[in-house]
């Protein structure tokens, strides 16, 4: 895939849980949706960190063309246009360890000297995925270890929601990770293995592929359902079964002037 398109949901549903730390300028100057896209690639930088151009979508259809470069940030200052061959879905296929190695971890800044001076659980963890700038955090557990695991699984979900891969509808065959999250009655399901639900870590990959398809068909649930061998009702139910999936699909539909799924 030549490039994948990152979509940010600036009005993120889950409150403080997810946000972009940088670029601050993207936050403050515009409201609405941004599409982040990667420059055409022809080499890879050794540390796997890419530079991004943060782009305001001018017309929804014409992806990168007509885009206005709003602000750019290079993680590696001597590379202006970098090359990266990682496909969006590859992030999700990475092991936790690999994905972690692409992240910068912040625990929340302790004011004052910390250590023996303080009794406060600074167990909150924020992970920033450097290639995409997406951050996820977790603070509900007492242990930093568990918060790190929770933040990582949240990051996977965010990557699924925001990293868009383009699809060629003519030749489209649903990838296996998507098939796995479909109800067993789908006619494209050859094996009758059980359906993977939203609590399974593998759900994120399937969800990403599903959103890719829904984007490709312009938000039409019935068109997507056809590609997946499902009734429109069955696909709607699947979309509604997960809050973040539903929200992602509905935001897109509203932008396209369609009614949100209920």
């Amino acid at each position: 895939m030549a490039h994948s398109i990152l979509r940010s949901f600036l009005r993120f549903p889950s409150g403080g849980v997810c946000n972009f730390t940088k670029p601050a300028c993207a936050y403050s100057r515009w409201h609405g949706s941004f599409y982040f896209y990667r420059r055409a690639n022809n080499s890879r930088i050794s540390d796997g960190v890419t530079s991004f151009h943060f782009v305001k979508e001018a017309s929804i259809r014409g992806y990168p063309s007509g885009a206005i470069v709003a602000c750019s940030r290079n993680y590696n200052s001597n590379v202006t246009s970098t090359f990266e061959t990682v496909d969006g879905s590859e992030y999700l296929a990475m092991t936790d360890e690999k994905l972690m190695s692409q992240c910068e971890m912040d625990t929340f800044k302790v004011s004052g000297p910390g250590g023996q001076h303080r009794n406060k659980r600074e167990s909150a963890v924020r992970l920033k995925h450097l290639p995409t700038g997406i951050t996820a955090q977790a603070s509900e557990d007492r242990s930093q270890h568990k918060n790190r695991a929770a933040a990582l699984s949240r990051l996977r979900k965010l990557l699924a929601l925001r990293v868009r891969n383009t699809i060629d509808l003519e030749t489209y065959v649903p990838p296996p990770e998507l098939v796995q999250i479909l109800p067993t009655k789908s006619t494209i399901r050859l094996d009758k293995g059980s359906q993977i639900g939203p609590n399974n870590p593998k759900f994120a990959l399937g969800m990403q592929a599903l959103i890719d398809l829904i984007f490709a068909v312009g938000g039409s649930v019935s068109d997507a359902a056809k590609k997946l061998g499902l009734s429109t009702g069955a696909l709607s139910r699947l979309i509604l079964s997960d809050d973040s999936l539903r929200q992602a699909v509905n935001e897109f539909r509203v932008e396209k002037g369609m009614k949100p799924l209920k």
Binding site: G114, Q116, H117, K120, R142
Partner: protein, 351 residues
């Protein structure tokens, strides 16, 4: 400073004089069982427990930012999070509390309802640390029992375990053999280091406080590490005379707060945690300096040490001290920052 410290700690722990000989024959103090490990032996009507919870929330909310403005203590949002954790530890099926259940339903809890009121009152009114209230701290992947008289392990200290992990990965010979954790407190470092080392390593965990030693032993047993972690009571390297020059590694988070700063600490710390665990003398360096000298004689050549400090200036002072006053004893000295970017640890290898 040192003597005032000893007498203060005996006020805190009146039963156990710290001046007792290291290997005394008196029965060791019996550690308390953390709340989450007690049997759910008590019943309460769901509605009564919900009433307790509503009261506790009000208490937490009314704190606002008073404590944090006063001495950097917890604000309402942290207290509310702690309240959830208290419910998790005390109630057998915490989910029941948030469901719209029949008013007649009963729930099993690990403390009497009256005690639940008392525990939360202590948390808010007395600023008793949450970890003493529930009797445990979640630290790394461990759940360690803690109680009054034992320092609550700090998240910063978790990094020492990673430093040990790196050191033994870089030199596998360090993995097999003896390590020491000086001032083990709850046993946090000793236990975590033993788990990093694996079956071939052994850890000697030392503490001067008999209460700490008893709690450390309890935690060692909980993680079934009796064969690999031995707890010894005494001052720093005193109880380790038999292994002089044989240690592969030494870790310590010794008391490092300058005496004059102890009383301005947040109330959870200054009023409740043992001063013996915190007060490092006039400039906070007394124990660190003592440990540097001890490590020089106790470590094998190429043996590793990692010490936690008060941060920044203090870690530089420790490093300077080793370089200037103990020239030639150690090599590959480093200062390592904690997760908040504070230069916190000094590490190095015996020359």
């Amino acid at each position: 400073m040192k003597s005032s410290r000893a007498s203060l700690s005996s006020i805190l722990q009146p039963v156990f004089s710290l001046r007792r000989p290291a290997f005394c024959s008196a029965a060791p103090p019996k550690p308390q069982t953390p709340l989450h490990l007690r049997p759910p032996a008590f019943r309460a009507a769901l509605s009564d427990l919900q009433r307790w919870q509503a009261w506790a929330k009000t208490q937490a909310s009314s704190v606002g930012s008073t404590f944090s403005a006063l001495d950097g203590g917890p604000d309402s949002s942290l207290l509310l999070r702690e309240l959830n954790w208290l419910v998790e530890d005390a109630v057998e099926h915490p989910a029941l509390l948030s469901t719209e259940n029949k008013v007649t339903a009963e729930v099993a809890i690990r403390a009497q309802l009256e005690e639940m009121y008392e525990l939360w009152r202590q948390r808010i009114e007395e600023r008793r640390p949450f970890q003493y209230v529930v009797g445990c701290e979640h630290w790394r992947d461990l759940i360690l029992s803690v109680e009054e008289g034992v320092l609550i392990p700090r998240p910063e200290t978790e990094t020492i375990v990673d430093l040990v992990d790196h050191a033994v990965k870089a030199d596998e010979e360090l993995r097999e053999g003896l390590w020491a954790d000086l001032g083990t407190g709850s046993g946090a470092l000793g236990i975590a280091v033993a788990r990093i080392l694996g079956g071939g390593g052994r850890v000697l965990a030392v503490d001067l406080s008999p209460v700490a030693a008893a709690v450390a032993r309890y935690n060692v047993e909980r993680y079934c590490l009796e064969a690999r972690v031995s707890v010894r009571v005494g001052s720093w390297f005193d109880p380790l005379k038999d292994v002089e020059g044989e240690l592969n590694g030494v870790v310590s988070n010794p008391p490092y707060i300058p005496s004059k700063n102890i009383h301005s600490l947040q109330a959870e710390v200054s009023r409740h945690e043992p001063i013996l665990a915190l007060d490092g003398g006039a400039d906070g360096m007394d124990d660190l300096i003592h440990l540097c000298h001890g490590a020089a004689s106790m470590l094998k050549p190429r043996g590793f040490f990692a010490f936690e400090t008060n941060g920044e200036i203090q870690s530089k002072l420790v490093l300077d001290y080793i370089q200037n006053e103990m020239e030639g004893s150690f090599c590959r000295l480093e200062i390592v920052s904690d997760f908040a970017g504070i230069q916190r640890f000094v590490t190095g290898y015996k020359a």
